[in-house]
């Protein structure tokens, strides 16, 4: 089943084309990552799907509905974590979650949601006393309390320290286990690799790669063979690593030399990502 379908999406702000023809589909129950550097069009795309912005061109369907024409019953079914927002500073964590729970027909138990995001101990603390990471977890709690089918998480861990990030990842994994469909934007490759079933890599308003993290690595141009010969590092990139390696070692054996520090490696997702999102030289 398709939860989100986007085809040939375009959006400009004045002269600036933020999104230049993006297409992808998100299946129900999967975690889909939109990965890209700042300014690649991630937030614009997500905000069109959330119903905040009107598209210039293209087709969009979110839970079977066009977000531009979606009503209140559609909003019952989605949960949103915006990139920047701060809830009422004078409310406690529990009050915020209870306030939002009241907006929905069939909310989850606020106490349970507070526990799910790991804010139990802060339930009675006022929002203004929370750390940045705790505030983000509260954002997640109010996004979850309506028991949505589809969750939008716009850079949910930006600014987290590594420990807080791992905790947030655990929470997001547990949401996936609950059967939620999740659209996640991030500029952290590791986050996409850890969480997303499939990833679309965005650069300058276009999708430059789409697939599972492994497929993206698999589609990368070359395997790298490195070694040192007479003190100099030699790097060979090849699509046929078996043959090249065989020839290399055969020659080395017959010449009686040692290929020092011999290494055969696939590029990491990070390298693939950096290659994909590398800025094109200005023309």
């Amino acid at each position: 089943m398709t939860a989100v379908a986007v085809s040939d999406l375009h959006k400009s702000y004045g002269d600036f084309e933020a999104v230049k023809g993006i297409s992808f589909e998100i299946h129900a129950g999967e975690v889909f990552g939109l990965l890209g550097p700042n300014g690649a069009g991630k937030t614009t795309t997500v905000e069109i799907l959330e119903g905040y912005r009107k598209r210039d061109h293209g087709e969009v369907s979110v839970l079977g509905v066009d977000p531009e024409r979606a009503g209140l019953d559609w909003r019952e079914r989605i949960g949103v974590v915006l990139q920047q927002d701060e809830l009422y500073p004078f409310f406690t964590v529990r009050e915020c979650v209870e306030l939002f729970a009241g907006y929905y027909e069939q909310p989850r138990d606020p106490a349970e949601v507070v526990r799910l995001v790991g804010l139990e101990e802060k339930a009675k603390a006022r929002v203004k006393t929370l750390s940045g990471g705790q505030k983000r977890r509260l954002d997640l709690a109010v996004a979850l309390v309506g028991d949505p089918e589809l969750l939008f998480l716009d850079e949910p861990t930006t600014g987290f320290d590594p420990g807080a990030r791992r905790m947030a990842w655990e929470t997001i994994r547990s949401l996936r286990a609950l059967g939620k469909t999740i659209l996640l934007t991030t500029h952290y490759i590791e986050e996409a690799q850890q969480l997303a079933d499939r990833v679309a890599v965005l650069r300058a308003g276009r999708v430059v790669a789409l697939g599972t993290p492994n497929e993206l690595i698999g589609a990368a141009p070359a395997t790298e063979i490195r070694y040192r010969l007479n003190g100099e590092v030699v790097v060979v990139q090849t699509e046929e690593p078996t043959r090249v390696l065989h020839e290399l070692t055969a020659r080395a054996l017959s010449d009686g030399v040692e290929l020092e520090d011999l290494e055969v490696r696939r590029p990491t997702l990070e390298e693939v990502y950096l290659t994909l999102t590398e800025e094109e030289p200005a023309e």
Binding site: G51, Y52, L82, L87, F91, G146
Partner: protein, 249 residues
């Protein structure tokens, strides 16, 4: 209706917890009334006792400081924090949210009215108003008109940091020129000319007519029309300029 009361309760709690705003918009008019009343409560102004004259003016000042200044500042801050934007993604209808915010601030002003009338009675021996219905309608008309202006203005203020500066720069001179603190007759001609187009002038005049001169609201069509017209200006500005999303970015 369930959503409305849910939101109204939250709005009330939020208002009283943000102590600076509550003090500034709710307590300050009460304090000023007490101070000014102690200063010239026993003088005679325009043929009535100073304290009675002042009470009507201070209700006008109270109306602008809660339903205009308080509401405008609160809306700008919430918009810039991203709360307004966030709410648009929930099933809470925009109209329900805005009416609850409006009802909440009108409720604050109603409490302030009761408090000021009580203080006037106890401290300065002011008369209790006897035309309650006219008074209630007058205060409601003024609150709604000033609230509409506040919603319109909030859309024009760019940043949360600047909101109280901008709003103060508007409503403090407005209160002064409109005769909230003193009789406008003692003003030089150009101030009087300005006063004659301002909504608060007419609102205070209405309150004085109802409280001091035994008039009914509906016997003062010109003043009612002036206040309503400014309310309409506010409504147009609100429809044109009000926004849910932060201005920066």
């Amino acid at each position: 209706m369930r959503l409305f009361t849910h939101e109204l309760k939250a709005q009330q709690r939020l208002f009283w917890r943000s102590r600076e705003l509550a003090f500034f918009t709710f307590m300050l008019p009460v304090l000023l009334f007490f101070l000014l009343g102690s200063t010239y409560g026993d003088d005679e102004i325009e043929g009535v006792r100073g304290a009675d004259y002042l009470l009507a003016g201070m209700l006008g000042y109270g109306a602008v400081s809660t339903t205009f200044a308080g509401l405008a500042i609160l809306l700008v801050i919430r918009r810039e924090q991203g709360i307004l934007k966030r709410l648009r993604a929930t099933p809470l209808p925009a109209s329900t949210y805005l009416t609850a915010v409006l009802a909440s601030i009108v409720l604050v002003f109603a409490l302030e009215t009761v408090l000021m009338i009580t203080i006037g009675r106890l401290a300065f021996d002011t008369d209790l108003p006897d035309r309650w219905l006219s008074l209630a309608l007058t205060l409601l008309l003024g609150s709604v008109a000033f609230a509409a202006l506040a919603v319109g203005l909030s859309g024009l203020v760019r940043s949360a940091e600047g909101s109280s500066a901008v709003v103060n720069a508007i409503y403090l001179p407005l209160s002064f020129i409109s005769g909230a603190f003193f009789a406008p007759e003692s003003f030089p001609g150009f101030l009087e000319a300005i006063a004659n187009v301002l909504p608060l002038t007419y609102f205070i005049e209405l309150v004085r007519d109802v409280m001091l001169h035994d008039r009914q609201l509906w016997e003062e069509p010109t003043a009612v029309a002036m206040v309503a017209a400014w309310g309409a200006v506010g409504l147009v500005a609100a429809l044109r300029y009000f926004r849910w999303e932060p201005r920066e970015r």
